[in-house]
Amino acid sequence: MFFYYMDLGWRSIKKTPYLSLLMVLAISIGIGITITTFNVYQQMNTNPAGERSTQLFAVQLMSQGKDTWPDINAQITYQDAMNLRQSTIPTRQIAMYKTGAAVQTGDANFQPMLENIRATDSDFFDLFSVPFIYGAPWDKSIDVDAAYQVVIDADLNQRLFKGENSVGRELYLNQMPYQVVGVIADWHQSPKYYDLNNGPFSDPESIYVPLSLAPIEEFESWGNNQSWNTENIRNYQEGLHSETHWLQYWVELESEQQVQDYQAWLQAYVKQQQGLGRFERDDARGEVSDVQAWLDFNKVVPEDNKILVGLSVLFLVVCLVNMLGLLLAKFLKRAPEVGVRRAIGASRLQIFAQYMIEVAMIGAAGGVFGLLWAWMALSLLTSRFKLGEALTQLDLSMWIFAPMIAIVSTLLAGMYPAWRICRTQPSIYLKSQ
């Protein structure tokens, strides 16, 4: 029967080509717009940490003075970062910040490049599951006793060493020699949840250096430096001991118990610092947020996007109501034929099925064209607004999702007209007028 209904549906669609076209157009534009906005939303709303999401926690401290910042800040001070390291509860923990330096090789003709650098601890790579091509992270002892070692990414390895295994080779950062200990694969987290300072969709750094080098090499922070205090900071060392927030701090906690223990430890730490005259606020506290909570806290999905998704869903509803009206008009015009079919022995369900299949065909066509519109709109937006490809790539799931919402939503819209028509009282239409 299915193919029979398909055949009947196709004939019916062909019989009113403009009307059918209008319906396909309406539904496809509705789907196209919804998919476009939803796709961008989806891309922004992904949680790249995957299953690690619930084990990785960003640490925040309400360390500011009274009557200064109203809210807890996303970053912490250097002195707090050093103190937090004392806790033995987390499975892994790291402090870090973004910096940069001029990169050179031993080759005198090599044009120096300015590269972004992440100063961090050895556990960074395991904590965020960063894959290595060659070598490994620097030894954990270096987090305390600084050494001039670096991990670089595959792209920089290509540019500096032509992609060879460069472990053991040397490169220069601000004219200081560093030894390469590891090369990581292309690793691009989008959004870049572990440091959202320079925008959630910015590129990862190409070089990783031990954080322990920061006080020695005096790497400037290239992220946000936030200060609530009016202290006068004259040099780098003063900055390290200031109340300026510029580091990110992450811990890995594998069980609920571990999370509770760590929260208790943070509370104790805040108490201890209050004893030293810091953390003046009544609501001074430490907080941990897993990756999803962290993305929410930092409002990674811009409000504009939520508005667009909301409006486009309303738009889709308009398209569906539009279609519902057209379908109703079209189906009711066919009441005499339905009367004949009913008289000849078609059950209501059979009539309903026949018309729902016709609706589904229109919906499917709408979905396919909708996908096409979405793809076009996204390519247009990408080229016009130079949006990162990460944001405007049509998500794979959309290829299934688009026809599905097209069919489901048209079926919903078609349900009423099909129901109305299947309730046709056959006897009314059989008498010739």
């Binding site: 157009l25 004219q175 400037e220 409006l311 308009v318 539009n322 009206g325 008009a329 007028q433």
Partner: protein, 406 residues
């Protein structure tokens, strides 16, 4: 137009579903279109704001000095660099700057003002530019009161607090009202700490953050930034900017090769990226509005066309009974106007409700009632066009149709 609204109305009431659907469609369309166009206009007006800078002529670039030789006097070197750049024939003026206007990142701060400790209060948060006497001319901003820094007033030894400041008109107005800002003192930190005297007023200068309200409150201090990493700002004629991107690095490397020079970008380019999200929003919403109107009017025309087909005989009978072609067209117009007016009014109310929700949920201003009203009027026009075409066709139905059995 003593048109028989009553029979039309009762016929609509009998055929509830079709008109009801049209009503819902019109209602939602008005709600969406009103809010979308409101947001579009809001974004466009944001984008229209003046930065005060000669955006196409001014560009900035970054220098990063990485020489480990700590004996190099970066301050002296900066002065040599800027002097060399200013000597270039293509360059109108050049200066040092700590952030690019509309650049997205930089410095801002809050200051204390007041006659005494007791009456002291915070001045509004302001973007802060650290530079020298060349900045005003380099950016092309207008000094409307007071004076610029003199060369010998610029503090060049790094780490010192500033003593003089140029304020924007907006900042002056917000801080001192109608009082003259000239000679006023602002304190960096608590009252009494690091006093800075206002010596000039700039008409307009925007800071780095286009989405922050404080962006118009900019201040310029008489202390250039000092450090390994800093920015220069250059003004030149439009035609020369491309070649200067080549000339300047070569020139500066002659003096000191151990530095990376990159990131040449005009303020116009910064503007483009700064407003990209707004432009994107306006574009997508604009697309939505156009398509929505298209779909609604096509849907309306389609329905009328269908009704014409269904009522062929009825129309023929009316014609036979003496209705003119105009009467038939008017019949369809009135029928759809009734739906349109009810739907449009409900839609306008819904639009205001939706606007209210959006304002509460997101940082949008409240929807101005003029938008639903204009949308509503636009809808009437659209309805007329969408209905008149098929209705004209209906009017062509011959009166003889009535006597023929189908």
């Amino acid at each position: 137009m003593m048109l028989h609204v009553k029979p039309i109305l009762s016929s609509l009431m009998r055929n509830k579903t079709g008109p009801l659907l049209l009503l819902v469609q019109i209602m939602l369309s008005v709600a969406i279109v009103a809010n979308a166009s409101f947001i579009i206009i809001e974004r466009l007006s944001l984008m229209q704001r003046d930065s005060g800078v000669e955006e196409t002529q001014v560009f900035t670039f970054n220098l990063y000095a990485f020489d480990t030789d700590t004996d190099i006097d970066l301050d002296k070197q900066r002065q040599r660099d800027l002097a060399a750049i200013r000597r270039l024939p293509e360059v109108i003026d050049a200066s040092t700057i700590n952030m690019s206007p509309l650049g997205g990142g930089g410095s801002s701060s809050t200051f204390t003002v007041g006659e005494s400790q007791e009456t002291s209060q915070y001045a509004p948060e302001a973007p802060i530019f650290y530079s020298d006497e060349h900045l005003v001319n380099t950016l092309g901003v207008k000094l409307i009161e007071g004076r610029n820094f003199y060369a010998d007033e610029v503090i060049t030894s790094g780490g010192e607090a500033p003593t003089l400041v140029l304020v924007t008109q907006v900042f002056a107005q917000k801080t001192w009202g109608d009082e003259s800002p000239l000679g006023q003192i602002i304190y960096m930190g608590e009252w009494g700490d690091y006093p800075v005297k206002v010596i000039g007023v700039i008409e307009t200068l925007q800071g780095a953050w286009v989405d922050r309200e404080m962006n118009d409150n900019s201040l310029i201090f008489n202390v250039p930034m000092n450090g390994a990493f800093h920015k220069y700002v250059v003004r030149s004629d439009l035609d020369n900017i491309a070649s200067l991107k080549e000339i300047i690095p070569a020139l500066l490397h002659q003096d000191e090769p151990n530095r990376v020079i990159k990131g040449f970008k005009t303020i116009a380019e910064y503007r483009q990226s700064a407003y990209r999200a707004h432009e994107l929003m306006a574009t997508v919403l604009g697309m939505m509005v156009i398509l929505l109107l298209l779909i609604t009017s096509l849907g309306l025309a389609g329905l009328v066309m269908f009704n014409v087909g269904r009522r062929t005989k009825q129309i023929g009978t009316r014609r036979a009974l003496g209705a003119t072609k105009g009467d038939i067209v008017r019949f369809f117009l009135v029928e759809n106007y009734i739906i349109c007016i009810i739907g449009g009014s409900l839609g306008a109310i819904l639009a205001l409700q939706l606007g209210e929700q959006l304002m509460q949920l997101y940082s949008l201003p409240i929807l101005a009632p003029i938008y639903p009203l204009l949308t509503f009027l636009g809808l009437i026009v659209l309805t007329t066009i969408a209905v008149i075409v098929p209705a004209q066709k209906a009017a062509m139905i011959s009166p003889a149709t009535a006597t023929r059995s189908v």
